[in-house]
Symmetry: C2
Subunit: 278 residues, 2 copies
């Protein structure tokens, strides 16, 4: 069994990216919008900002109180769309319940949509065209599988979860790489029968649901889940101990998909500026 080491690959990607950035006469500017005071969101945003700054990416965090109105937020995004000094815009999710998330995301100019989540970019991805960027977590997952030369074409990939952030785009990107893809979720019956037929399992639910009896011997396990167990320890969707005895490759949590997401986000930030300069 081989650990898919996301930290190691993240460090390698970021080191390469630093060289690329050092050679760029103009550096990207990433604007991150944070509404409210969700503690997890604050940690994510801080991590993104720190990583960006270490690379030489200009990072601006715009913090607003939870009471911010939808119209005020739309106006802010419009300003950032028109600000030629800003090359990338990220709206940290979740947003407060009174704000229509889709409306906000779709207001971002697709050329500055660093998460690849606007309808325009998702539509290009879905239809096999090239979006400005691919969503960060799926991009990170594919970079990690490619680093370990894990074949995707012709494999049965079972994706558990169907969010716009992870489950749906990773399903489509696997399909574009000629995998047979099954997308599962809370309504799926006989989940174990399906996962047992999988060559690659990608789990992005946020609940501990995958045990080793649900896996085929030699399969590849990608665990996107991040939650805290009863003792306050960071844990994933997969029972790692058991699964690691049956899988050929497995991502740890932490240290697997998480670091790859941030690496992919930094790649996206630089790619957007490069595309804008063409």
């Amino acid at each position: 069994m081989i650990i898919l080491d996301g930290k190691k690959l993240r460090d390698k990607i970021l080191a390469d990216l630093k060289i690329r950035l050092d050679a760029m006469p103009v550096k990207p500017t990433l604007a991150v919008i944070l509404v409210g005071d969700d503690p997890a969101s604050e940690i994510y945003v801080n991590n993104k900002q720190k990583t960006a700054q270490n690379l030489g990416i200009n990072s601006v965090v715009l913090k607003y109180p939870a009471q911010l109105s939808e119209n005020e937020l739309l106006e802010k995004i419009n300003e950032l769309n028109n600000d030629t000094a800003v090359s990338a815009i990220l709206v940290q999710l979740p947003l407060p319940a009174h704000i229509d998330k889709n409306k906000i995301i779709n207001a971002i100019c697709p050329a500055k949509d660093v998460d690849g989540l606007t309808a325009q970019n998702l539509g290009l991805l879905f239809s096999g065209q090239t979006p400005m960027v691919f969503p960060a977590t799926p991009r990170g997952i594919l970079l990690l599988l490619d680093e370990y030369k894990i074949e995707i074409e012709g494999k049965h990939v079972v994706v558990i979860g169907r969010s716009n952030l992870v489950g749906k785009p990773v399903s489509q990107m696997m399909l574009a790489r000629n995998a047979t893809v099954t997308t599962c979720h809370s309504y799926t019956k006989n989940l174990a029968d399906i996962t047992k037929s999988a060559d690659i399992v990608v789990c992005a639910i946020g609940e501990k649901i995958i045990t080793n009896s649900m896996l085929k011997s030699g399969c590849v396990v990608v665990d996107v889940g991040i939650s805290l167990d009863s003792s306050g320890k960071v844990t994933g969707d997969v029972e790692f101990e058991g699964a690691s005895k049956i899988a050929s490759y497995i991502t740890p949590v932490p240290g697997g998909v998480g670091p790859m997401t941030i690496a992919a986000l930094m790649l996206n930030t630089v790619d957007l500026l490069a595309a804008q300069q063409v």
Copy 2:
């Protein structure tokens, strides 16, 4: 075994739609662009035009020679986008090889995109938002299954084919209805093992590949394929005789999905005008 009668439902939908259209003070105008002289395309376009006219939809067919340049076609679409008398635009596929299909489709204003194939509309569909319209064939398939009260939620739906016209959008629409969805294609290994686990099979390949030994007893079979067999007879992707002995419901070819596609296209045409009038 029950035949999913697409002709009967088409007639019912079109009769209802005629009443709705008769009450509309302004009728929709559907502009169909046909480039080149593919005989199958001419038949499809004629059918669409005839059906539209019978309903009281204004239908204009713009025919161009195969040598038409991409820029000329883009210019034409731009004219139609700006023509307030035109409420719906359809570009008949396939286009000649020298024209970039995606570029042409994405040039259609999403509000007039009657096939629902622009990146913007596909992105809305993919991300679980509401596109202006859903692509006609998937919409037709769901209308047919709903007419026969076939449950989708929690079922395992196996879609064979991954085109932007049928396979991919029908997969997403089934997923949005809480089915577990597997998308198969030419790279899929052990196709029979997968189809045997399906509660609903949707086949959209254009090749006779589904035999009754590949199906689970009591499954629902939706055959989107249309091709001509060696004797020149219209036929689908499923061996109808055998499959009809094992399936609980099955679409015939012709008379199943084909008529539903045209009914859905007419619904889309009227829906677009209604949305433009809001």
